[in-house]
């Protein structure tokens, strides 16, 4: 599924979307950046509370195309600038991590019927 289609399906606020057509394979939920480095699959969106430049750096390294900030967390200017520079999408939702991940699962048909 394209990122754009996932944004529409999940009802996320698109704060920055450098490439709407990039393919999304799933989601990874974590607030620990080392955990993201260790386990986030390539092509997954990162669902997190970490609203700073280091989350962008980690996404760049693991090949995560987008960060979904839960609880409608603010996006600091430096984070916006870093994401723009690195081509990482920034999305916001009022959901918590569980419900944000649930929406991704539904949109991608992951876990349905398991």
């Amino acid at each position: 599924m394209t990122l754009n289609a996932l944004i529409v399906a999940c009802g996320w606020e698109p704060a920055l979307v450098p490439d709407p057509e990039v393919e999304v394979s799933g989601a990874y939920v974590s607030d620990l950046l080392s955990d993201v480095m260790a386990h986030c699959p390539d092509g997954a969106v990162l669902i997190t509370v970490q609203n700073h430049t280091n989350s962008v750096a980690v996404c760049t390294l693991v090949g995560a195309p987008a960060i979904v900030l839960v609880h409608n967390r603010e996006i600091p200017e430096e984070m916006q600038a870093a994401a723009s520079r690195e081509g990482v999408a920034l999305l916001r939702t009022t959901d918590d991590q569980f419900h944000a991940a649930l929406r991704v699962g539904k949109a991608l048909g992951i876990g349905v019927g398991e």
Binding site: L32, L33, S34, D35, D42, Q50, T60, L61, V62, E78
Partner: protein, 322 residues
């Protein structure tokens, strides 16, 4: 006429002029060659005309807290009134007479486009406290003293230090046997979260340009990132070196302190000494070294409390059997 013969010398002492020994740092030697007298001199000049009285010169020197004043008219330098000249005038009762009569006239001057090394030799040879500076048209353009030189060298050396600290070493090529050879060094500063991850990102970009397999790239990027963050979070600052040669990637994170008390404990999953605010940024989960060891084919850590830590991660990028 009681005109002084020459500029007053400063106290003589045993000294070695900068640039005259083989022991001076190369950076310093280059600086004193590169800097011109005009880069160092004071050009905001306080001067008096020839018909000013010695008392006026003395008052000016007192107000401006200077130890000599050039006698100048329309850019032409006629002489210099020094504290010695003032004392001499006071003793002789000529303090109300003109500077033109009692100034020092035999002057040694420097030209503004001379290298600083030349000026340093003049200071050493003549033992004067200051030299007037003239330009090619023989116009007075400044005055130079030891303090000007010290200030200029401190500013230049600080800039040079910043440049050297910020410079990333870079060497590319092959290792002689046709294998890829790369070398990069990244200085990492303590708590510089703004730039944390940039070294790892650069490493990843280079590997992508060299078209290495994505799985290998990710392993190297993970090791580089974790070691970079460790330097940023836990050390007093250090250097992340990355080298590719002989078909393997070698990342070395080296710092000068504070060192790890229990290395074995530090390498356990979840072991962390990070404080709350570092944890709030998503760091300090105690997974960093575990991640590095997990992605590495060879892993080594050496540390001692009170001194530095060196962590090495080796990842094979070519099949060892091939």
């Amino acid at each position: 006429m009681s005109t002084s013969d020459s500029q007053p010398p400063i106290a003589s002492e045993e000294r070695t002029t900068l640039g005259e020994t083989d022991n001076d740092p190369i950076v310093l030697l280059e600086l004193i060659q590169r800097l011109k007298v005009r880069d160092v001199m004071t050009s905001n000049l306080v001067t008096v005309p020839r018909d000013a009285t010695m008392q006026q010169a003395q008052e000016l020197m007192r107000q401006k807290k200077i130890s000599s004043v050039p006698v100048e008219e329309k850019g032409r330098l006629f002489g210099l009134v020094s504290i010695d000249d003032i004392i001499r005038a006071l003793v002789a009762g000529t303090i109300h007479e003109s500077c033109g009569r009692h100034m020092t006239t035999k002057l040694v001057v420097l030209e503004d486009d001379m290298p600083l090394s030349f000026a340093l030799r003049y200071f050493d040879r003549y033992h004067y406290g200051r030299f007037p500076v003239i330009n090619r048209d023989r116009q007075l353009v400044g005055i130079i003293c030891h303090r000007d030189i010290n200030r200029a060298l401190l500013v230049e050396l600080t800039q040079e230090l910043h440049r050297l600290e910020g410079a990333s070493l870079q060497k590319d090529g092959d290792d002689g046997s046709g294998s890829l050879y790369l070398l990069r060094e990244f200085p990492i500063c303590k708590y510089d979260f703004e730039n944390a991850g940039k070294a790892a990102n650069q490493i990843k970009q280079v590997l992508q340009e060299k078209k290495l397999p994505p799985k290998i790239i990710r392993r190297i990027a993970v090791a580089a990132y974790e070691l970079e963050i460790n330097l940023c979070v836990h050390s007093d600052g250090g250097v992340l070196s990355w080298q590719i040669s002989n078909g393997r990637s070698e990342i070395v994170a080296r710092d000068a302190g504070p060192g790890i008390e229990d290395v074995e404990w530090a390498c356990r999953d979840g072991a962390s000494t990070a404080n709350e605010w570092i944890r709030s940024l998503g760091f300090g989960a105690g997974m960093g070294l575990v991640n590095v060891r997990r992605v590495s084919d060879e892993f080594d850590i050496k540390s001692k409390k009170g001194s530095g830590t060196t962590v090495k991660s080796i990842i094979y990028i070519e099949d060892k059997a091939s």
